[in-house]
């Protein structure tokens, strides 16, 4: 029972991470948009959903007590709007500028979460968020199981939609602008507009994943908005294979498994006086995986498939 309930918890978080990784895959994997501010959009979603669904906090404006579903859609909308505003300003920038700008966005969003106390309650965070299925299920285990079923459905639907979209002519334009913006412009495709679409859609997925995370944990705080999250999402995508939706999910599950496994292993084998260092060792370990992957298998576990059209046979290794 204990193992099963842990497995359910593990799977829910893995699916929530996968949704963020799918969002990043749309931005970076398919379109080549270097967004180093993943955690910012995740955070906007998490806080938007928390403010919409949370109980009435006496010291904050928020807590409208709306049903979780409203929170999820509100989160996507909020992240989408923030992404649109950020994108309108930055999407024309070269990769490295865009990386710095999105990094700055994430830093600012975490700073707002910490300091905009009338809205976010600062370090205390927004707590006692309603968990869907909590009243329907007899035990917490069952409610987690229902939650898992829900995120699996959401994740499955997103995967199906993304597969359709990235194989469509629209998806081909994304990859074309990634490979050669001028050539695609010569074919009459306005790259900036496509990049903006991919940026906003990807960020909406990150927002959704933040909302799901908040409603599963029942709590959001600035501690959930650390840059390490962006790093994890990137490692997941690179290990799994950027430009491949199934790779994105494989990477999310693999890295999340390694992450929890190292926690258990370090917890069991590290002498007690070093236990406080365990989380630092874990980050170094995952950083090492990233660097080794970048060096020796930059295409990831499941490389991108070079598919020209869904009507033509895919050609695995030809550009």
């Amino acid at each position: 029972m204990d193992i099963t309930s842990y497995f359910v918890f593990f799977s829910v978080v893995a699916v929530i991470y996968s949704i963020s990784v799918l969002g990043l895959n749309l931005q970076w994997g398919f379109t080549g948009i270097m967004n180093i501010g993943v955690v910012g959009f995740f955070g906007v979603g998490a806080y938007a959903a928390a403010l919409l669904t949370g109980p009435d906090y006496p010291d904050s404006l928020g807590g409208l007590g709306l049903p979780p579903v409203v929170g999820y859609f509100g989160a996507m909308l909020a992240s989408g709007i923030v992404a649109l505003l950020v994108g309108l300003v930055t999407i024309r920038l070269r990769h490295d500028f865009l990386a710095v700008a999105t990094f700055g966005v994430a830093v600012c969003i975490q700073m707002l979460a910490m300091n905009l106390k009338p809205l976010t309650r600062g370090f205390d965070g927004l707590h006692s968020l309603p968990r869907p299925f909590a009243s329907m299920a007899a035990t917490p285990f069952l409610s987690n199981l229902y939650f898992l079923a829900m995120v699996l459905c959401i994740g499955g639907a997103l995967l199906w939609a993304l597969e359709r979209m990235t194989r469509s002519p629209w998806g081909r334009v994304l990859r074309a602008t990634r490979e050669d913006e001028e050539a695609s412009a010569a074919l009459g495709k306005y790259a900036v507009s496509y990049r903006l679409q991919a940026f906003v859609l990807g960020s909406m997925l990150m927002g959704l994943s933040g909302a799901l995370y908040g409603s599963f944990m029942g709590f959001v705080s600035p501690q959930d908005l650390l840059p390490i999250f962006t790093f994890q999402i990137f490692v997941m995508l690179i290990v799994g294979g950027s430009g491949n939706n199934f790779g994105a999910i494989l990477g999310a599950v693999t890295i999340w498994a390694l992450w929890t496994l190292t926690e258990t292993v370090l917890g069991a084998f590290l002498p007690p006086e070093l236990q406080r260092q365990a989380s630092a060792i874990r980050v170094v370990f995952v950083g090492l995986i990233l660097v080794l992957m970048l060096l020796y298998r930059p295409q990831g576990l499941l490389p991108e498939r070079r598919n020209i059209s869904s009507f033509a046979a895919s050609r695995p290794d030809k550009a």
Binding site: V89, D96, A280
Partner: protein, 296 residues
């Protein structure tokens, strides 16, 4: 108002020492290194370890440190540069050889940044450290309050920047560096050893970062996020200065320092990073080639 100016100049000094390395790596190795902040952190902590060996930081008239710290700084600069060279040799060089994209290099530096920061946490923990617990009285000149340590920070930065200018404009190595930054393949054709230039890029950038780390340590404190928190201001300085020019970056550092000083004075110190960010966005919107840079 004068106080804001002085505080801004002190803040700008740290950014300046950091941005030199960032700018050199950006122009010579062609990627913005997200790990440069951590070289500041590691420099400060290596010096802390050496000071711990001495057992004292000593004291020279009015300052909260003396020769032991100065010697520790020099050793730390050497060790920290070695660290940067090892990282280049084992990671970035391997990626250059494989013709990795700039995006992969950025990602790798992002990974290196997290690893370095967490290695520091492994050895020294999350809590801040101090070189010394001596409290320094602030000196007063015409109503402006500044500590002797802060005067040293500004003085050392000015001397190092002048030295850097002479190095870049008068020495063969400095000129080779500018040539490689301008056009690496043309420089190679002209017989410049690009690998040698790259090694010295890391050494000089990291040595200056070490100075920044140690000076941050004795004016404020050492903590594992100290360099990371400087990363956004450093990038801002680089962008404001137009990316391609070290001198532009130095001017950028001064502007960012002043903007930070103004925010702390008139808004709230928590929003310091936001000021930097707004400045980045404004420059990118209206002067995408920097306020001094020419069109690329």
């Amino acid at each position: 108002m004068m106080q804001v100016l002085v505080d801004g100049i002190v803040a700008a000094s740290f950014i300046t020492l950091g941005v030199v390395g960032l700018s050199m790596v950006f122009n010579i190795l062609n990627f913005p290194s997200f790990a440069h902040g951590e070289l500041i952190t590691s420099g400060g902590y290596i010096a802390l370890a050496i000071v711990a060996l001495f057992g004292t930081v000593g004291s020279i008239a009015g300052l909260s440190f003396g020769w032991p710290l100065i010697i520790a700084l020099m050793c730390a600069a050497v060790l920290n540069s070695l660290l940067a060279l090892v990282l280049d040799r084992s990671i970035y060089r391997q990626m250059r050889v494989r013709n990795a994209s700039r995006i992969s290099l950025i990602m790798a530096s992002f990974g290196v940044s997290l690893m370095l920061r967490n290695v520091v946490v492994m050895f020294a923990g999350q809590d801040p450290h101090f070189f010394t617990f001596t409290i320094q009285p602030a000196l007063k000149f015409w109503g402006i309050r500044i500590t002797a340590n802060e005067l040293i920070v500004v003085g050392v930065t000015i001397v190092l920047v002048l030295g850097l200018h002479l190095f870049l404009s008068r020495t063969t190595l400095g000129k080779s560096m500018r040539a490689v930054a301008e056009n690496a393949s043309l420089a190679r054709v002209n017989g410049i050893d690009v690998d040698y230039v790259i090694r010295w890029t890391w050494i000089i950038g990291t040595a200056l970062a070490t100075v920044a780390g140690v000076m941050l340590g004795f004016t404020i404190q050492l903590h594992p996020f100290m360099g990371f928190e400087l990363l956004l201001p450093m990038f801002a300085a680089l962008i404001v200065g137009g990316m391609t020019s070290i001198y532009g970056a130095l001017l950028g550092a001064l502007l960012i320092g002043l903007a930070e000083g103004l925010t702390v004075e008139y808004l709230a110190s928590e929003y310091r990073q936001a000021a930097t960010f707004v400045l980045i966005i404004l420059v990118l919107l209206f002067r995408p080639h920097g306020i001094v840079g020419e069109k690329a």
